[in-house]
Point group: C2
Chain length 198, copies 2
């Protein structure tokens, strides 16, 4: 398949790239500042340009999402709006504009995260964004069939424990390679409307 | 308790008003165009004014949220943004600004809805908003204790079947009075971070 990979330069994006390439897929990497194509998916017009430029695509996979972390009482409306634009509306736009662009039986695989269901202090914007994304995926799935859409919802990566482990005390981490395999499962499998939590 | 009731004029708000008043609480009703106090909670500055005006409050309960319904492919970024402002950011703002205003052991009870988990065609913005709200509630709960926060997530009301029943074929409806009792449960009970689905 020809697969558009958004957020290709991060720790997760790199692993997803490897996992999908190992399955023989043709990957077109997209990033704000790196990758085969450089676009900012938080801007709707850039998503349009991205699809124009990418040509025929079988699957869109996203590993991109930015959200702020602060206590609820220090958050501003702009912080929540930033999380909404940075992780929710941006990924929704890949779907909204992508339905008419990708293959008839193509798929979208978006990124959520454990904080939707297992919050940590300071995660209210991240949790909000992940909960929004997961509910959108369930809703979009029943409209866009036979195209498919799933979300990947990982916990903290084993490879990120040094950096983020203190925020997830006692939480079993997941190797990023396992998360990447779940993207393969979503892209090549038959399920839709799923939130793959791991 | 002195309770601020947002969205007091709707079908649900009216029932919540009755249920809380029957329990002996003092209710201050808030609406855009009706109620004891008239404010639009989608505007942060009006939420500030609302709290200034309301004085000491023990609990905030919300039955207010507006979202657009359209197929995914007919939605615009503005539609999703409208849902975010109309149901998510507005209710988040009640909490964000309310934490410093309401009683030390006060509570927030917000409105979500069944579409977070059981979508219908055209509900992607509503589902997104409800999922966002529920995840926010779980996240905020662990930060604001001993203040509490819960969400009420009702299915279609028995009283709304004539209007909306065709959108929920075969779905068991719930009497709005039962939903209102769940607000009583949230306000007077001890739980926090809960999504009461009914």
């Amino acid at each position: 398949m020809k697969i558009l990979l958004i957020g290709a330069n991060g720790k997760l994006g790199t692993a997803v790239h490897e996992a999908l390439a190992a399955r023989g897929h043709e990957i077109v990497t997209v990033g704000r500042t790196g990758g085969d194509l450089q676009y900012d998916i938080t801007v709707a017009a850039q998503v349009t340009e991205l699809y124009d430029r990418a040509g025929q695509i079988d699957a869109v996979v996203s590993a991109a999402g930015d959200v702020p972390y602060k206590p609820v009482t220090e958050m501003t409306p702009e912080d929540y709006t930033s999380a909404f634009h940075g992780k929710v509306l941006s990924q929704i736009d890949l779907v909204r504009q992508g339905v008419a662009r990708i293959a008839e039986r193509g798929s979208f695989t978006l990124i959520s995260g454990v904080l939707a269901h297992e919050p940590i202090p300071t995660s209210s914007a991240a949790s909000m964004a992940n909960g929004a994304l997961e509910a959108f995926v369930r809703a979009a799935a029943i409209e866009i069939a036979p195209q498919r859409i799933n979300a990947i919802s990982p916990t903290v990566f084993t490879e990120s424990l040094a950096e983020y482990g203190d925020f997830f005390p006692g939480v079993p981490p997941v190797p990023v390679a396992d998360v990447a395999q779940t993207y393969v499962r979503s892209v090549e499998g038959g399920q839709t409307g799923q939130v793959y939590a791991l």
